[in-house]
């Protein structure tokens, strides 16, 4: 009996944790449709005025465009680098491999604000500060580890003999890569690209430091928030949330297709 009470208590407790985690997200969406300038309880009337305001704002569109360019390019570079590294790790053992893996895996453990300062200083040293592609490069460094981890997990499921069989049948290493390894990793590659784009789309510290005048959406939000209470943030935030969610769900769908199909049947 005591055991059952405890179990129910713990389940309720999980509910409370979820409540805490999702309260700000839910309220942000609710506030975005609320007419009040400073939202409180009871809520004001339903209104889409904040959406109308942002959709009519040229700066918002400009920021959205920059964000999309950055997210797509950074995720392409990061996924490519992640794939190369995951494959190297999967197939080869070599000296200093620990240092090699640390090189790609460390960036997310360093506080973003420090990366931001270091990137800002470095890019202005090499004469590249304030460019869109400096944000792209910085985000590719930041997100490559995620791509590497996802693709590496997928490679774990590949039968080692699969590649060897291709070589024995006369395929060169390059064509085995093209016809065996890449098709096998495809779901993970798509999934990795989506996740990297989602991370890049939400990153603001580095983007803020190195962007100059090319603001991304999170930097735009940061600058509005610094000013005062402005419900436009909720409307933009809801859009950003939807975009990120779509990317994460897409990543999840692509990544779990692997469990439905037999690995051997896929590579042919």
């Amino acid at each position: 009996m005591q055991q059952r009470v405890l179990t129910w208590f713990l389940r309720a407790y999980i509910g409370v944790i979820f409540l805490f985690v999702f309260t700000p997200i839910a309220f942000s969406v609710v506030f975005s449709f609320n007419s009040q300038r400073f939202p409180t309880i009871p809520l004001g009337e339903f209104s889409t005025q904040w959406y109308d305001t942002i959709l009519a704002d040229h700066d918002v569109w400009q920021a959205a465009l920059t964000s999309i360019v950055v997210a797509v390019s950074a995720s392409a570079i990061a996924t490519l680098l992640g794939f190369c590294t995951a494959y190297s790790d999967y197939r080869y053992s070599f000296r200093f491999k620990g240092a090699y893996l640390a090189l790609i895996l460390l960036p997310p453990t360093i506080p973003l604000i420090i990366m931001a300062l270091a990137m800002l200083a470095w890019f202005s040293k090499i004469g590249a500060s304030g460019q869109v592609w400096s944000i792209i490069i910085a985000h590719s460094v930041l997100t490559a580890p995620f791509a590497m981890a996802i693709i590496r997990l997928r490679l774990n499921q590949m039968d080692e003999n699969l590649e060897a069989a291709a070589w024995n049948l006369g395929a060169s290493e390059w064509s085995a890569m093209r016809h065996v390894v890449v098709p096998f990793c495809k779901p993970a590659i798509v999934s990795a690209a989506c996740l990297c784009a989602a991370v890049s789309f939400d990153e603001f510290a580095i983007a803020w430091f190195v962007s100059g005048l090319n603001k991304t959406v999170p930097v735009f939000i940061l600058e509005i928030v610094t000013g005062n209470i402005d419900p436009r943030v909720n409307a933009i935030g809801t859009f950003v949330f939807m975009t990120s969610m779509a990317l994460v769900v897409a990543a999840q769908i692509f990544f779990s297709t692997k469990q439905l199909r037999k690995p051997a049947g896929e590579a042919g």
């Binding site: 055991q3 405890l6 179990t7 713990l10 389940r11 407790y13 999980i14 944790i17 805490f20 985690v21 309260t23 700000p24 942000s28 506030f31 400073f38 939202p39 409180t40 309880i41 009871p42 490519l80 190369c84 590294t85 494959y87 190297s88 197939r91 080869y92 070599f94 090699y100 090189l103 790609i104 960036p107 453990t109 360093i110 506080p111 973003l112 604000i113 420090i114 300062l117 270091a118 990137m119 200083a121 470095w122 040293k125 490069i137 490559a144 080692e160 003999n161 060897a164 070589w167 290493e173 989602a198 999170p218 939000i221 928030v225 943030v233 935030g237 950003v240 949330f241 990317l247 994460v248």
Partner: protein, 286 residues
Amino acid sequence: MTQPARKRFDAYAMTWRLPIIIWQLLFFVGPLLFMVAMSFFVVKNYRMVEAFEFTNWVKMLGRGYFWDSYFLTLWLATLATVCAMVIAFPAAYALAFKVPDSVRRWAIFLLIIPFFTSYLVRIFSWYVILAETGVVNSILSYVGLGPYTMLNTKFGTIIGYLTLTLPLVVILQTFAMANIDTRLVEAAHNLGCKPFATVYRVVIPLAKTGLIIAALFCFILSFGDFVSPYYLGGSKPPTLPILIIDTTKSGQQWPRAAVVAIMMMITLFAVAFAAISAAYAKRGKS
């Protein structure tokens, strides 16, 4: 298994191995090393001049406000870590032992979602919720309480830190405990160990490594975050990340900001080293 014959220079292998090395040296190691060098540069007439002087170090470390910020940041990050670890534990325990596998998978998926939602927007949402005339206070006023000041306090900062770290801590703690052999827990139970004693004497020691890693991540994230202490904590005195921003954005004092950043890195390395040593240390006799 037949590997193609090894050549002295294997172009194929290098095609996959080299890109990341070059990229990270140029854009990850390079910037960090340059930042260290920059901390010795001097600023003259608002321009940075390459030099090797200890002026910035002496100026920053010799000032009271730096150390105020330093210990405040250390204290807040520690407090956030303790709160997150304690608050997350019952939830992670329940997810590891008290729910079916499918529920656990869904819970973890849901807890990953916040990572991909804008942290800024979530903090702005808290700002509105916790304000003097905000949602929490208007609900409390119905039962005749409040209003309470929650913004610009340490409480606000900690709420912000928890928003950032709690999902991750729950996930990592759950993984740490889900790997425990449940037969050991049952054995302790059958031998008459009370539930809380079982948690304390069996579950926590077995999950130690994972739990310490969770705490470490929580500490690193809180220590480096500038959004919560700025928007919810009021930034008086500023934490180290805010100090970096202020120093960089106003007055072009990049070298001094670099000093702060390096001090942060040193602290994090020390904490990480201590945590990892503790995580993998052999258990002493108890």
